[in-house]
C-alpha cells in the first residue's frame, strides 16, 4: 500500500473544516480505537508547516490562528506526546508556544491530595454542603482508584506526604506548559462545574493574546472519552447523561468547535434498547443515553468499527462519516457541503494511516 501524507486526502475534508460552535462526535469500539483520528484533528489544526497544501486549506477560510485544548480521560500526557511525535508534532514545544494545552483527566481524577493549594481546589472538609461531605469518603473507596493499580493505599486523602507523581505535576503546572490535572470532588452538578471551571480557565489562558492586538484565536476543544467520568460516577452520585450533556454544552460555549470521543461498543449502546431482553443496568442506560444524545446534538458523527468480515492484515477498521442530528440546523454555507461516506483505514506500524475506499 503506498504511503499517504499524515493527513490522508480522503480524510482531510472531514477533519479540517469544522463549522463554528459545532459538535463532532467520534465513536469508537474496543477493536477500533479513535486515537489516530484524534491525532489527525491535532495535526490538521496545529501541524502542517507554512506552505503546505493542508495549511492553505485551513487558513484560507478564516485566517485566524488555531489552537487546541485536549482533555483526555483515558490516556496520559506521555501517550499523546509520543504518539504526536510520530506524526511530527512536538506537543511540548507547541505547549510552550501556547498553541496547545493538555488537560489530564486521568492521573489524579479521583485523587484529592490534602495539601493542595486552596486557590485551585477546595477540599471537601472546608466547603460544600453537609451531605457531600459525609457521602464522599465512603463511596470513593471501592471506586476505580485501586483498580488503576495506583501505588497509594486506600485512605488516599489522608496521606501525609504526596508521592512522586504529584510533585512532578506541581512542577509542571508551575512551568510554562499548562498541563492541568483534573480532580473530581463532591457529587452531582457541583463536581462537574468544578471540572468545567478548570477546563475553561485553560481555554481562557490560551485565548488571551500573547502580543497585544493579536486576533482572538479559534480554539478547538477535543474531549477524549468523558464517558469514563460517567461510568465512574453515575446516577448514584447525581451525574447522569443529561448532566454530562450539559457539561459538554457548557464547554462548547467557550470554544470554536468541539470534538467528542466516546465508546460505542455494543454493551454500552444496545443493552439499554427496548428490544433487549434483560433489564439494563444504570451504567448501560446512562452511557447509551449520553452517546445517542450526543449524536443527536452533533453535526457530524464519525463512527469507527471493526471490519464485519473479520480481522484482515491490511485493514484496521471501517470509518463511517454520517450527518448527525443537528446537521442543517444552521446554514453554514460551504462548510456544510460534505458527503456522507464509508471508507476503510489501516494504521501502519509507524503510526501512519492509509484511508481508502472499499476495493481500492
Amino acid at each position: 500500500m503506498p504511503a499517504q501524507p499524515p493527513l490522508p486526502p480522503l480524510l482531510a475534508p472531514y477533519v479540517s473544516a469544522l463549522p463554528p460552535s459545532s459538535l463532532t462526535l467520534l465513536s469508537s469500539v474496543l477493536g477500533a480505537t479513535g486515537n489516530w483520528l484524534i491525532l489527525r484533528y491535532l495535526y490538521s489544526a496545529l501541524g502542517a508547516p507554512t506552505g503546505d497544501a493542508a495549511f492553505g486549506l485551513l487558513g484560507g477560510e478564516s485566517g485566524r490562528k488555531r489552537k487546541v485544548v485536549l482533555v483526555s480521560f483515558l490516556r496520559g500526557w506521555e501517550f499523546w506526546r509520543s504518539e504526536a511525535k510520530r506524526l511530527g508534532l512536538d506537543l511540548a514545544r507547541l505547549t510552550d508556544k501556547r498553541q496547545f494545552a493538555f488537560v489530564d483527566g486521568l492521573s489524579e481524577l479521583f485523587y484529592t491530595p490534602a495539601t493542595l493549594p486552596p486557590s485551585s481546589q477546595t477540599t471537601p472538609t472546608t466547603s460544600g454542603p453537609a451531605p457531600s461531605r459525609t457521602v464522599l469518603p465512603v463511596r470513593s473507596q471501592p471506586g476505580p482508584v485501586p483498580a488503576r493499580g495506583g501505588p497509594q493505599p486506600a485512605p488516599a486523602p489522608a496521606r501525609p506526604t504526596p508521592n512522586n507523581p504529584y510533585q512532578r505535576v506541581q512542577q509542571q503546572s508551575r512551568g510554562p506548559g499548562p498541563v492541568k490535572q483534573l480532580h473530581l470532588t463532591g457529587t452531582g452538578v457541583q463536581a462537574l462545574d468544578a471540572l468545567e471551571n478548570d477546563i475553561s480557565s485553560v481555554i481562557k489562558q490560551l485565548k488571551t493574546p500573547v502580543t497585544p492586538g493579536e486576533e482572538e484565536p479559534e480554539i478547538l476543544l477535543i474531549v477524549d472519552q468523558p464517558d469514563l467520568l460517567l461510568a465512574a460516577t453515575g446516577p448514584a452520585k447525581g451525574i447522569g447523561a443529561t448532566e454530562m450533556g450539559e457539561w459538554i454544552m457548557g464547554l462548547q460555549q467557550n470554544v470554536h468547535a468541539t470534538v467528542l470521543a466516546l465508546s460505542a461498543d455494543s454493551p454500552l449502546i444496545h443493552n439499554a434498547a427496548e428490544s433487549a431482553h434483560q433489564p439494563s443496568t444504570p451504567l448501560e442506560m446512562e452511557s447509551a443515553a449520553f452517546a445517542i444524545g450526543s449524536a443527536h446534538r452533533a453535526q457530524m458523527v464519525l463512527q469507527l468499527r471493526n471490519l464485519e468480515t473479520g480481522a484482515a492484515r491490511d485493514v484496521s477498521g471501517v470509518l463511517r462519516v454520517s450527518k448527525g442530528g443537528a446537521w442543517g440546523q444552521v446554514d453554514a454555507g460551504a462548510e456544510d457541503k460534505w458527503e456522507e461516506r464509508e471508507v476503510l483505514y489501516f494504521v501502519q506500524r509507524d503510526g501512519g494511516v492509509c484511508v481508502f475506499g472499499r476495493g481500492e
Binding site: 469508537s28 450539559e246 460505542a264 434498547a273 439494563s280 445517542i292 458523527v301
Partner: protein, 347 residues
C-alpha cells in the same frame, strides 16, 4: 380505492397538514414529534419556523440541545441546567415582552424533551403535564387569551429513564396521551427500501441502531440505494380531532433546498402520490400484452371483425337438428377470391 375517494382524501388531508404545520385555527395545541437518529427532526423544525415567519407568528425555542439560536427564532431560551419552573418563567417573560405587538399567535418549540426527562435535578415534584400546560395556559386570567401552540420533540432512540414508581406510565406514553397530533419521522429512502422488501415478501430491513451492530450509531448514508430522488422526510401523522376521531396519514416533506424559503404553496404531498413510492402503472405494459411484437399483422381491421362476427359456426348449425348427420356439415359459400380445387374441396 375509487378515484373519487382518493382525491377527496388528498384535498382533505393536505389541507389538514398545512393547517397543522402553519398553526392555523389552533388545529393542534400540543404536537409531539417523534424522531430518531435515522431521521432527525431538524428539517421539520426549520419548516415550522419558516411557516411561522411567513404568517408572522412569534416563535420561541426552548433549547435543551441547541447551542446557537436557529435563524428565524424570536426568543431563544437556553434551558441548560435550568429547573422546569425557571424555564416556564423565562418563556412567560419573553411573551410579556412581545405582548405589546398585535401578534397574539405564538409557537413554542422544544428541541428535545429527553434531557429534561432524564435530568437528575427533575425531582419527584416534576410533573410533565403541568410543565407543558403552563406554556399553553395564560399566566393570569385577565391576560388576553393568546393563540399558542406547542411542538415537543422526543428522541425515541434515547433510552427511557428508570420509572420511579411501577404504576407510573413511561414519559412517551404520557406525551402521546397528551398530544393532539403525533408526527413520527422516517427517512424516505428507508421507507422505500422497506416497501421494496415488503413487495417481495421479504423481511423489512432495519437501519442504524436497530441493526445492533457493534460501533454503529447511524446507518443513514446520503445515497444508500443510488437514488438521488429519494430525498425528503416521511411524516407519519396521527391527528386527534376534538370529536375524538383520529386521522392517520403519511406525508412526504421534500428537502428544503427544493423550494424557495418564501414559498406559500403547499409543498407537502401525500406519500401515496409520490412516483417512487407508488409508481404510476406503466401504460406500455398493457398494450404489450395484447400485441406481441411480430413481423406479421396480427390485428383485425373493422371490416374483418364484422365479417368474423357474421360467421355461423358449425355447431350452431348442428343444433338445428335436421336429422342425424345433417347438422354437422360445413357450409361454405365460395367467394370471389376462392378458386375451386377438385381434390381438396370435394363435397
Amino acid at each position: 380505492m375509487a378515484p373519487t375517494s382518493l382525491s377527496h382524501r388528498q384535498t382533505h388531508n393536505l389541507l389538514l397538514i398545512s393547517k397543522l404545520l402553519g398553526h392555523r385555527d389552533t388545529a393542534s395545541p400540543l404536537t409531539l414529534l417523534i424522531d430518531s437518529l435515522e431521521q432527525p427532526a431538524t428539517p421539520l423544525i426549520k419548516e415550522y419556523i419558516r411557516r411561522a415567519k411567513i404568517s408572522k407568528v412569534h416563535v420561541t425555542l426552548i433549547a435543551f440541545e441547541t447551542l446557537k439560536p436557529i435563524d428565524g427564532v424570536d426568543s431563544f431560551i437556553f434551558a441548560r441546567r435550568k429547573n422546569p419552573s425557571e424555564i416556564a418563567k423565562e418563556v412567560g417573560a419573553a411573551q410579556q415582552k412581545t405582548s405589546t405587538s398585535p401578534s397574539t399567535r405564538r409557537l413554542i418549540l422544544i428541541d428535545s424533551i429527553n434531557p429534561l426527562l432524564r435530568a437528575q435535578r427533575a425531582n419527584a415534584h416534576f410533573h410533565l403535564p403541568t410543565f407543558l400546560s403552563s406554556f399553553l395556559l395564560p399566566s393570569s386570567p385577565s391576560a388576553p387569551k393568546g393563540d399558542t401552540s406547542l411542538v415537543v420533540n422526543f428522541h425515541q432512540d434515547v433510552p427511557n429513564p428508570p420509572i420511579r414508581s411501577p404504576y407510573q406510565p413511561s414519559p412517551l406514553s404520557t406525551l402521546s396521551f397528551l398530544a393532539t397530533t403525533v408526527i413520527t419521522l422516517h427517512s424516505f429512502s428507508h421507507i422505500l427500501a422497506q416497501k421494496a422488501a415488503r413487495d417481495r415478501s421479504l423481511a423489512a430491513p432495519v437501519f442504524g441502531l436497530a441493526e445492533e451492530q457493534d460501533g454503529v450509531l447511524l446507518g443513514r448514508l446520503d445515497k444508500p440505494i443510488g437514488n438521488e430522488f429519494a430525498q425528503g422526510i416521511v411524516l407519519e401523522m396521527e391527528h386527534r380531532r376534538r370529536s375524538g376521531r383520529g386521522v392517520l396519514e403519511w406525508y412526504l416533506l421534500p428537502p428544503a433546498s427544493s423550494y424557495p424559503p418564501n414559498q406559500l404553496k403547499e409543498i407537502v404531498t401525500l406519500l401515496d402520490d409520490h412516483p417512487l413510492y407508488r409508481p404510476p402503472e406503466d401504460p406500455g405494459a398493457q398494450e404489450g400484452e395484447e400485441e406481441p411484437q411480430s413481423t406479421f399483422e396480427l390485428g383485425l381491421t373493422d371490416r374483418q371483425r364484422k365479417e368474423r362476427e357474421g360467421v355461423v359456426l358449425p355447431y350452431f348449425d348442428a343444433q338445428q337438428g335436421n336429422g342425424p348427420g345433417e347438422g354437422g356439415r360445413i357450409l361454405y359459400d365460395m367467394g370471389e377470391e376462392d378458386d375451386f380445387d377438385e381434390e381438396e374441396d370435394e363435397i
